[in-house]
Amino acid sequence: MPHEEIVAQIIAQLGATIAQLSTLLGELRHNPIPHLQNVVGGLFSNHNDTFLTDAR
């Protein structure tokens, strides 16, 4: 296979990979991983969830 064709194929493959990565990153932005969206500072924080206990 001529060198020019190999280079063209590499570039095409790289382009496809970049497009795929870009789609995946966009997906991640719209569907962020739960609880990795850490809103408090740079460190992870716990929620103080209220947990009800019933009484007779």
């Binding site: 990795l36 809103v39 992870f44 947990f51 019933d54």
Partner: protein, 264 residues
């Protein structure tokens, strides 16, 4: 760098309720960091993440020690880390909240909140998260009016800045729903808890312990409304999730089982 990557992976496992996998990764990260003589601030995210995980697992004393170790490391640095120190106060307050030590919890929560406001202003989402945490502590002290004010104002910030379906919105609605149940506003309680459940199921999956917390609270709400069969079905689903993810001896599993027995 590798330790940081292990820590992020661990928190990903935690997000999917794989607590054992998360713990294994964090222990590895901590061992590596200590071996390579990484000290000071580099250890803080690992220690904090381990403590967050141990709180999930009901291992409050171990979590407390880790937070204190992280705080001592930050306070021993030549420069200051106000946001991280505020988060550690927030988290220490969370441990005392979980242990029912509300007075001490309030002191930590207020220290964290004041520090955060000083450095970030009043309308930041992190400030809203601190306010929800403080609200839960005040709710534990039956200071319902103050707690509701904090929840409601934080909810506005979260919905505006993070969107209506963010997990922070779900957590705030869970607490608001629980508060309305405690104050007898059952219709509003049911509405808030159902919305919290939808958000949490969508964001975390149907078998996450946070989903089970809201199911348990819905169960209490339905029992107070007199619909015992519906209450039982919520408790049973919650219990199945707690048993599978946290084990039989976890405080939430034990409390949920007690709720179910009361409804039998």
């Amino acid at each position: 760098m590798f330790c940081r990557w292990l820590t992020i992976r661990a928190m990903y496992h935690r997000a999917h309720a794989d607590f054992r996998g998360a713990e294994a990764l964090l222990l590895r990260a901590l061992a590596l960091a200590e071996q390579s003589r990484e000290s000071g601030v580099r250890l803080v995210p690992i220690l904090n993440s381990m403590a967050v995980l141990y709180k999930d697992l009901g291992r409050y004393d171990e979590a407390w020690e880790l937070y204190q170790r992280a705080l001592a490391l930050l306070e021993g640095q030549p420069r200051s880390y106000p946001a991280d120190v505020a988060t550690l106060y927030h988290n220490l307050g969370g441990i005392d909240h979980a242990r029912g030590r509300f007075d001490s919890a309030e002191r930590f929560a207020r220290k964290g909140l004041a520090l955060r406001i000083e450095h970030m202003g009043t309308s930041h989402v992190s400030v809203a998260a601190d306010m929800v945490a403080l609200g839960a502590i005040l709710e534990g002290q039956r200071r319902y009016v103050e707690a509701e004010t904090l929840y409601s104002s934080s909810l506005v910030v979260f919905e505006k800045k993070l969107g209506r379906n963010h997990t922070e919105v779900g957590s705030t609605l869970n607490n608001l729903g629980a508060l309305y149940t405690s104050t007898g506003a059952h219709s509003r309680a049911e509405q808030s808890l159902k919305r919290a459940l939808t958000i949490r199921e969508r964001a975390l999956g149907k078998n996450h312990p946070d989903v089970a917390v809201t199911l348990n609270n819905l169960g209490v709400c339905y029992r107070r409304l007199g619909d015992v069969p519906l209450a039982r079905s919520q408790y049973k689903r919650a219990l199945s999730i707690f048993r599978g993810s946290l084990g039989m001896m976890h405080p939430k599993t034990v409390s949920c089982l007690a709720n179910l027995e009361l409804a039998e």
